[in-house]
């Protein structure tokens, strides 16, 4: 967390950063203070909440589908967000004859709104479907199909969009933790926090669902209702985070595995807080790497999460494997 404030392409003396945070007199000039308050601080907060939110959203999906490869994007919710953005860029571009990026601040907010709307449409569709089908696997397949469908539509729209807009779409798709300005920061954090707390309240239901739907039902759980609640919650977290930070890959897939392996449990009363913690730490670390001193500007978060996360998950899995071989 602190390193995230200290490090960046503009060098700021660490003692002065501490002074500034603690409200003491600081020798920093105005531009450095702005970098600190307007950029680094919000970025670190966004990384924490986005990382935690994605990790929990991923955990919910892995439990609901009892599939270790499930992640927040598996049901097409983030591709729905992408489609929303592509649609906005295309429609705005072709009607005004002007690239959306040239509209200034409206474009950033517009892209977030479009992504959120796109994600919600997919989520709503999934909930409708879930009411009609009995098997949760069917839902998974429908979700994956939606992801393909929206993906190809997005591709088509991009093909017909303005050059500058394609550029901005690509940048959005790379993911960033700097897309939330200071004014929107409290709303973003608050919305994610609500989702995380709601997830904690689902711990017991998630534990039951992990036994299998019929056992859950036999233990008195309304599985239909809770399937929908889990979908809704995971979709809600994914939609908000994707809207602001772009489709960030990997954290949602990897962190639940890291949490399970580190804490050696499948109990969601432990796993959810563990995922929140690990997700936040991993996201902060990725954010740090993405703008190490000496690098020009920010690297795309999406590349960094996988770059760091993949070897780490392999290491954690191998370690567990070795232990179990040793035990037997």
């Amino acid at each position: 967390m602190f390193l995230n404030l200290f490090l960046g392409s503009v060098v700021i003396d660490s003692k002065e950063v501490l002074n500034a945070i603690l409200g003491r007199a600081t020798k920093l000039d105005a531009s450095r203070l702005i970098i600190l308050y307007e950029y680094r601080f919000p970025q670190a907060i966004v990384a924490i909440f986005a990382g935690a939110g994605l990790a929990v959203a991923g955990l919910l999906m892995q439990t609901l589908f009892r599939n270790p490869l499930a992640d927040p994007s598996i049901l097409g919710i983030s591709s729905g967000a992408s489609l929303g953005v592509a649609l906005l860029l295309f429609v705005a571009g072709s009607f005004s004859g002007q690239a959306v990026v040239n509209l200034g601040w409206i474009s950033t907010l517009g892209i977030s709104m479009a992504a959120f709307a796109g994600a919600l449409v997919v989520l709503f569709f999934l909930l409708l479907m879930s009411a009609r089908i009995k098997q949760v696997v069917t839902l998974l397949i429908i979700g994956i199909m939606i992801a393909y469908l929206t993906g190809s539509l997005t591709g088509l729209l991009r093909f017909y969009s303005q050059k500058e807009d394609i550029q901005s779409f690509v940048i959005w798709g790379m993911g960033t933790f700097s897309g939330v300005g200071r004014t929107q920061l409290p709303y973003f954090s608050g919305a994610i926090l609500v989702g995380l707390i709601a997830a904690l309240f689902l711990s017991k239901s998630l534990n039951m669902i992990l036994l299998g739907n019929r056992y859950a039902e036999n233990l008195g759980l309304n599985t239909k209702l809770h399937t929908n609640l889990i979908l809704l919650l995971s979709g809600y977290l994914t939609a908000i985070i994707t809207a602001y930070a772009g489709p960030i890959a990997f954290i949602g897939l990897a962190v639940p595995h890291i949490a399970r392996n580190l804490f050696k449990t499948s109990d969601h009363r432990v796993l959810i807080p563990a995922s929140i913690l690990s997700g936040a730490v991993l996201a902060l670390f990725c954010n740090l790497v993405a703008r190490l001193p000496g690098l020009e500007g920010n690297l795309p978060i999406n590349s960094i999460t996988s770059l760091i996360g993949a070897p780490f998950v392999i290491w954690v899995m191998l370690r567990q494997h070795n232990e179990s071989v040793f035990e037997s």
């Binding site: 036999n218 233990l219 008195g220 179990s324």
Partner: protein
């Protein structure tokens, strides 16, 4: 004797794609007394699992009613049913890092609050369930490290922890080796006779269960269900006739 499970004019089956309803067999009317150990047997596809799904309200009956402890299950909430009936399925339970104790503890879920915190009484019940099934030594193990026989013990312990008068087991002996099968039947028998549990289980191991159960329910596709004590069914070769066997297999096994 008190009736623990009663099926009244129960018709089971599935609707096909054109919404045509096809009952698997003529309507069933049978009942189980408290403390009885009953085996449901019949060829694959006869509807044993379907019947279990209907009794455990995973599937709606086409017609008729299921009464557990005198109450129509259609009128009960999921929680109320959780206190009356527990199930043991063939599905493999055990995601990564799932502990045996936690699985058995999940049997207490219908009685615990939002955070599933276990009271001292809950813990006593869990320990006793583990003890009874001989799974106490497994308590700290991970589910994925268990053999099929051990796994079955754990799932039965979970059903016991749920503390229900009626227990349903879907082919509990299916994946077990011979000694484990015998141990399982003896465990079920003990639970029924000493702990007054009403137990209904499906099985293909007719030779092994014949002398142990109080009653047999025979099922065959499209035939009415036949219920009776092993002695009744053996007399006059009713059992053989039901399954359409012309010749007499080795009498010794029956």
């Amino acid at each position: 004797m008190k009736k623990m499970l009663e099926l009244q004019q129960l018709s089971i089956g599935y609707a096909d794609s054109r919404k045509k309803v096809k009952p698997l067999m003529p309507a069933i009317s049978v009942s189980l007394d408290k403390g009885e150990l009953v085996a449901l047997t019949g060829p694959n596809g006869a509807g044993k699992t379907t019947l279990f799904r209907v009794i455990s309200s995973n599937l709606k009956p086409l017609q008729g009613q299921v009464f557990i402890d005198g109450k129509d299950i259609a009128d009960l909430s999921a929680r109320q049913k959780a206190g009356l009936l527990s199930i043991v399925l063939t599905d493999r339970v055990g995601e990564n890092f799932m502990k045996v104790f936690d699985v058995v503890a999940s049997g207490r879920y219908p009685y615990t609050g939002l955070w599933a915190r276990l009271t001292r009484e809950d813990k006593i019940i869990i320990d006793r369930s583990l003890e009874l099934t001989g799974a106490a030594v497994l308590s700290d193990r991970l589910m994925q490290s268990l053999s099929d026989g051990e796994r079955q013990k754990v799932m039965i312990a979970k059903a016991l922890a749920q503390d229900t008068p009626l227990i349903l087991l879907d082919e509990p002996s299916a994946f077990l080796d011979y000694p484990s099968k015998i141990a399982l039947i003896q465990l079920l028998k003990k639970l029924a006779s000493e702990f007054n549990k009403t137990i209904l289980f499906s099985s293909h191991d007719l030779d092994m269960i014949m002398r142990q159960v109080d009653k047999l329910w025979l099922m065959s596709p499209e035939k009415p269900m036949l219920s009776g004590t092993p002695d009744e069914l053996l007399k006059n070769r009713k059992l053989l006739a039901y399954f359409g066997m012309e010749f007499t297999p080795h009498e010794a096994i029956l």
